[in-house]
Subunit: 344 residues, 2 copies
């Protein structure tokens, strides 16, 4: 699978805004970092591709310490970063830290101050409510759970035959009342990862968002709606690309705007938003500092900064705007970078 | 629940095109007929409302024979008319004939000549493939079954703790091959009833319709796509209206048109298409003829024709364009009609 890489934005945007005096060249440390997309680059489904294990080992010293700071920068998600790091470590055979995993929903942490104690709904594959509670949100429920508060909210529910025993998460929630007219107002909705049940999600989201947060009412005030990403399509295990969160957003928006007078308002995170890459650079900087503090070389007076942040991805629209180099595998990409940076 | 009724189209369109000499007033027979919507008028979910049982009994003689020809005209569906008639008879306490049940997909029968021996896919709640095979289509599979031919076609399948598939059906199909690149070309797609798994259906329909019928290929020729109806919303058991097949159509169309250069082409059946009401009048005419042949009165020389076809429905956009009368229940509606027609 061919992919492209380059600096995703002009270099100046990637340099942290430090005064010149704070800048110190750490010649024994890497002055570049790498951000890897996951799907279609490192893995297809749960399987390594493009010799990714070998490619990543080149970023470590023989002692096992990190030589070249890198992280995974994906628009996917659905489980906490700590758990994803363990999965990736397992599959790839190198130790990945939670801080090296940046998922589509990672920036939702920045909304904690605003919604920490507010009643919010989260949806998407995996465990969107667990993701959000681990970020510190105290009153989040999954859309699965929220829908269970309302009898008959999903008109085709009886045609969905359960094949596995439902986890009884719901019974722990003392607020659960199975009746119509559930009265706690939803203050915001978070699409954390790819929705699984589009029909039910679109129905219930329309109910929440046209009602000011209380299904059954009518309101002009739409609770804020946040998306972790906006990928129209992405590479999964099937040979041709699959519809992503961006496709779900288009479907929801088109239906919502037909049944409600005021158009849907929403905020999307994720690549290719430049802030995502800026955040990646910051994280790589912290990784480098941790490395220094562990005694791997001479500590400098200020924060390190990178000359170059490399992004390796396979989706030109999302990972890279304007490719400069084209290679076939992630192993080739890493080899190219190390040679270019004379850091083999 | 308030609803409106009137003749849905100007009277002239409802009179069958017979020469004047064939017309005979059958004074001992009804010169009017009634078409009832089901959801929100006769039933809510599976429960009678508006005293519908009592209302319908007024349309029969004491002997149990049909006095006033009537039928059910719904945009819903998903099971064969014969089975729906049994269900309705059971709930309503009167004997409903299969010919008195006209569902959204009933007009698909008219496409039999074109697709009888073609490989076609049908989707929607209930048993869309059974519906189509009972109409005479010989090579139809459900979308559930079709999707099972392709590994990983649904990228979130592993997160679904439910299935829409009817397990026992699939194993009988000797054509089933679980591999990618299934090579039988899909010649047309039928949305028979409300889709259950919107995400999976939208993905697989996009795969079929952008590929000329063979997922994985690219083609400008889109296989024909037929919808049994186009209701944006409809009254089900939940207090406020639920999204219908029309909402699914909007969602599919919006996604498809973003990933494919040529806009989606489709054909919708169902109310408020005037042909649907014309077809209803024809069926009521047949009902009347059968009644005559059973010895209930003097047979006329030609087909009977109606002066008036009444439609009783609750969806102004779908059932009625321009209401003339407003009543609260179907019992009130029937009483009004019988009084007006002096047929109590």
């Amino acid at each position: 699978m061919r992919f492209r890489f380059k600096q995703p934005v002009p270099l100046s945007l990637l340099r942290p805004p430090l005064p010149a005096s704070a800048f110190r060249s750490l010649s024994q440390h890497s002055s570049f970092g790498i951000a890897f997309d996951i799907d279609g680059v490192i893995l297809r489904g749960a399987n390594p591709i493009g010799n990714s294990q070998r490619a990543l080992r080149r970023l470590y010293n023989d002692s096992g310490s990190l030589k070249i700071p890198f992280l995974f920068l994906t628009n996917g998600g659905g489980i906490p970063e700590s758990r994803r790091a363990l999965e990736l470590s397992d599959i790839l055979g190198v130790k990945i830290l939670p801080s090296q995993v940046v998922q589509g929903h990672s920036p939702f942490k920045t909304l904690l101050k605003r919604y920490e104690n507010e009643f919010i709904v989260a949806t998407g594959k995996g465990e969107p409510d667990v993701v959000m509670s681990e970020y510190g949100f105290k009153r989040v429920v999954s859309l699965d759970e929220y829908a269970s508060y309302f009898s008959n909210i999903d008109p085709v529910a009886q045609y969905k035959r359960w094949t596995t025993r439902q986890e009884s998460k719901c019974s722990k929630n003392s607020d659960k009342i199975i009746h119509q007219g559930y009265s706690k107002k939803v203050k915001a909705v978070f699409v954390v990862s790819d929705p699984v049940d589009w029909g039910r999600d679109i129905q219930v989201l329309c109910d929440i968002l046209t009602s000011g947060g209380i299904p059954g009412e009518k309101s002009w005030h739409q609770p804020p709606l946040y998306f972790a990403a906006d990928d129209l399509q992405y590479q999964a295990a099937f040979p041709s690309e699959r519809l992503g969160m961006g496709a779900f957003r288009i479907a929801l928006e088109s239906v919502f705007n037909r049944i409600h007078e005021k158009p849907l308002e929403l905020t999307c995170f994720g690549k290719p938003n430049p802030l995502v890459f800026r955040n990646a650079e910051t994280i790589l900087g912290h990784l480098l500092q941790s490395d220094v503090r562990r005694g791997n070389g001479d500590p400098g007076p200020g924060s390190p900064s990178f000359k170059t942040l490399y992004m390796i991805g396979d989706n030109p629209l999302v990972d890279i705007k304007g490719a400069q180099q084209v290679v076939d595998t992630v192993e080739d990409a890493v080899a190219f970078i190390l040679k270019r940076e004379d850091a083999s």
